[in-house]
């Protein structure tokens, strides 16, 4: 029974994504309960999957009963189990948060919103669980198509950014597929475990090198890694507020996961640092991305655009962590990935709440939160402190482990990059706080403003709770990562 868990993890959101339009056209009110029910179920199953994978080792599901490497294999191990739990829990919270926003912003498009969100979640699950490179491509494309539509679902200005995202995302996917083609030509297999066995014999071949470069470029576009992040700021700024918490928190993290899977599991640590030193290059790219992203964020007036540049910066930090080549660095990168998933969901959630209540979009507008929405403001403060890296939040421990990893690896440029990024992050968040508290010219009472809807308050509360809990329980999570996630070869 447990070996069928990967199948269920995909089938639950996928089924719900199809049932929603079939049922929804007759009774639109049923969309939300079906979506949330499916996600609750998904979260439970993914927690079971993670605990099974930790206690009994990786679970593999062979589709159609055909044995790998010829058949298609899906695997839950420590890494994919952890990512699956993060995706399902955060997307559940994001969709709870989206409820009131969808009714306001997308009143005629409730069915496409829920159906595509679940399709996106199913595809992200498929990417995380896929045990072969081609399946990963298929789900990368399904997920990307769903997110292009989610970015543009409100129409108007967002259509342009969705179109740009579509063009760049398609180029990224093509590059990835091209790279997979090179690998297949050299090794004759697509299964990741099988390819890991066959690659050492053909590492000298230029085709493998070219394929790896294509794959890294393609995935870098998808994850919005500087300097290939061109689509990201516009897409996050103009996407509907109901979609951004989901899009910003998980969609870019999963291509990064794909990169980590290929670099550390298919190629192996030793190969990507010495024989084909792609990690060394990506370490520098990550350091520059982290600093430039944070620097650009300082100058943004629009709150969502500032957060988008902050995402570029976080992506750089995570990539930097994975590229350090030490166990602590790897674990720190993964920890910061989880922390950033929560923080970005919370911050974009606050942006959504502010625009729902006041139509607020600039950093200065956020001052109005002070008057009528103290709880939302509290969530903003805590997640901002976590972004800066103030204990005891998750962001602090993430950055701490990154710095320790960088010191262990004796890569001092990384230490400097992490510290500079933290300072720049502090600069743009403190600038925001300064605007929030210094603004005096506020209207005293705003009687037409309604109470913040309960789903928004609750989801922000839960996210903030997890940001602090992940920080306080960082030893536990790091222990788990060290025990069951770290790949061989360190």
């Amino acid at each position: 029974m447990t070996s069928s868990l990967p199948g269920f993890l995909f089938a639950i959101p996928f089924f719900a994504a199809i049932v929603i339009p079939v049922v929804g056209f007759t009774n639109q009110k049923l969309c939300r309960p079906i979506a949330l029910g499916a996600l609750v179920f998904l979260s439970i199953v993914s927690v079971i999957g993670l605990s099974e994978a930790i206690s009994h080792g990786p679970l593999s599901h062979e589709f159609g009963g055909w044995a790998p490497p010829i058949g298609i294999e899906w695997v839950i191990d420590g890494l994919s189990g952890l990512l699956m739990v993060a995706i399902s829990v955060v997307s559940l919270i994001a969709l709870v948060h989206a409820g009131p926003l969808v009714e306001k912003e997308l009143s005629g498009r409730v069915i496409p919103f829920y159906s595509l969100s679940l399709l996106l979640i199913a595809a992200l699950g498929g990417m995380v669980l896929a045990g072969d490179l081609f399946n990963l491509f298929v789900f990368l494309e399904i997920g990307s198509l769903a997110s292009y539509v989610l970015v543009g679902v409100a129409g108007g200005r967002s259509l342009l950014s969705a179109y740009r995202y579509l063009i760049l995302g398609t180029i990224g996917a093509s590059l990835y597929l091209l790279g997979v083609g090179y690998f297949y030509a050299e090794t004759g297999t697509l299964n990741m475990a099988d390819m890991a066995l066959r690659l050492p014999d053909v590492l000298d071949s230029r085709a493998v090198l070219t394929g790896l470069i294509f794959i890294v470029l393609g995935l870098s576009i998808k994850m919005g890694l500087f300097p290939l992040h061109g689509w990201l700021p516009d897409a996050y700024t103009y996407a509907p507020d109901s979609c951004t918490p989901l899009l910003a928190s998980v969609v870019t993290k999963v291509p990064l996961y794909a990169f980590v899977r290929i670099a550390f599991w298919v190629f192996g640590m030793a190969t990507v640092t010495t024989q084909i030193p792609i990690l060394v290059v990506l370490g520098w790219v990550g350091a520059v991305a982290a600093i430039v992203g944070a620097y650009r964020a300082i100058w943004q007036e629009n709150f969502k655009r500032m957060l988008a540049y902050s995402s570029v910066s976080s992506m750089g930090l995570i990539m930097l962590g994975f590229s350090l080549g030490t166990e602590t660095g790897f674990a720190g990168g993964l920890f910061y990935l989880l922390a950033d998933t929560l923080m970005k969901a919370a911050l974009f959630g606050v942006a959504g709440a502010a625009s729902y209540q006041y139509g607020a979009s600039t950093v200065t507008d956020l001052a109005r939160l002070r008057r009528n929405m103290p709880w939302v403001l509290a969530a903003l403060v805590i997640s901002a402190l976590s972004m800066v890296g103030i204990p005891p939040t998750a962001g602090f421990f993430g950055k701490w482990h990154l710095v320790v990893g960088a010191l262990e690896a004796e890569k001092y440029f990384a230490v400097v990059a992490i510290l500079v990024t933290s300072m720049l992050t502090a600069l743009y968040f403190f600038r925001m706080f300064q605007r929030v508290w210094a603004e005096e010219s506020l209207p005293l009472v705003e009687p037409h403003v309604l109470e913040t809807p309960f789903p928004i308050k609750m989801s922000l509360g839960v996210l903030t709770f997890w940001i602090i809990a992940l920080g306080l329980g960082s030893d536990l999570v790091m222990g788990l990562i060290f025990e069951s996630v770290i790949p061989k070869g360190f």
Binding site: S4, G7, A11, F15, P21, F25, F63, G64, G65
Partner: protein, 147 residues
Amino acid sequence: MIQPLDSVIVHTLTRVITPVIQLFALYVLIHGHDSPGGGFQAGTLFAASVILPIIAFGIQGSLSVLERRAIILGGIGILLFAGIGLLPLILGGEFLNYGKLPIPGMEASARRHWGILGIEIGVTITVAATAVSIYYSLRERGEGEEK
């Protein structure tokens, strides 16, 4: 709604061709897994056999409602596919392992045969319904511009 075309040649030919297309679609569907063809091809043929009479004879009713019905039908097709895939998974096998389908009194190879036909029917329904819904959607835009 779509106005009928005013041409005897088109009307007569449509009457003759439509059943032939549908018969050929059924052939392509049923022989899909041991000869060229399959669900996708059969689905496009079925869609053609639906769209052709609509062009020739017109159709009553709101296009957006018709489009919505076509989308629902497409969803049902995927549900058929996914349902057949999921049954073995629930019964403790693997996704799409037709050999584990609960059909009594049948050998595993025969179960695989019928299982594949089942999912091909699901694919056919979805492809046909999607193609028809695309046609409705394009036609609806065109009418909006004419007005």
